[in-house]
């Protein structure tokens, strides 16, 4: 069995993206935690816009983190992200999933506009807010996602429930 990847380091990953000038929003398990339902997560998930220039910056950030494409440990190349919906990189800051924004309300601009701000010492970055997290979780629908929704509902009461294209129509 291969060695377990390094544990995720959200602040290091975010710092590399900011240094590279890449736009992103934290989604996934860390966004659930930021919305006060604290549970384990072992990777970093970043939502990115559909923007070739931003893709270039994302790859620059991943390379600075010694990233390789996880599935074959290939050095990162432009085509690994260009016109792709997803890229999983194994980096010194753990596994980083790059996820392309979806259709509204899960598009990059909407999620970014509703994001919270995480402020570390000398470092600030956006983390998906409750509406977006609920949308992502409803769409994914795995047992863990349903558990996240139950946990969030226990904290916030009735959750925001924006219609999702293809799911609610």
């Amino acid at each position: 069995m291969a060695a377990v990847p390094p544990e995720p380091k959200l602040d290091e990953a975010a710092a590399a993206f900011i240094d590279a000038g890449a736009r992103f929003v934290v989604i996934g398990g860390f966004a659930v935690i930021a919305n006060r339902f604290v549970r384990a997560t072992e990777d970093v998930d970043f939502l990115v816009p559909d923007d070739p220039e931003n893709d270039r910056r994302v790859l620059e950030a991943l390379r600075k983190l010694d990233g390789v494409r996880m599935r074959d440990e290939a050095p990162l190349r432009d085509e690994h992200l260009a016109d792709q919906a997803h890229l999983r990189a194994l980096t010194g800051a753990g596994i980083i999933d790059i996820v392309r924004g979806g259709l509204p309300p899960l598009d990059f601009d909407t999620v970014s506009g509703e994001a919270m701000n995480a402020a570390y010492d000398g470092l600030e970055f956006p983390v998906a807010g409750l509406r977006s997290v609920v949308g992502f979780k409803r769409l994914a629908g795995r047992p863990r996602d349903r558990n996240d929704l139950i946990g969030l509902e226990e904290i916030y009461g009735e959750l925001p429930n924006d219609p999702l294209p293809g799911l609610d129509d």
């Binding site: 602040d11 559909d50 996820v99 701000n117 995480a118 402020a119 570390y120 600030e124 769409l139």
Partner: protein
């Protein structure tokens, strides 16, 4: 800017792709059976500390939506 549909997994109909990605991640993150308990506990402790750090960072950042 919204994605052009064909370029996102964030829409219904990609269950098989997500299942494959989730399997890959689960395989990678499952520790070897002989991993020392102390090492697992340290990893859990580090992740918990990071979660608390994120909660504090969100509180410092205002703790609410930017919208």
């Amino acid at each position: 800017m919204a994605a052009r549909g064909k370029k996102t997994l964030l829409e219904p109909g990609h269950d098989a792709e997500w299942a494959k990605l989730n399997r890959e991640k689960r395989r990678a993150l499952t520790p070897a059976p002989d991993t020392p308990i102390g090492q697992l506990l340290r990893r859990g402790q580090d992740l918990s500390a990071q979660a608390i750090g994120l909660l504090r960072a969100v509180e410092r950042g205002g703790g609410s939506s930017r919208a």
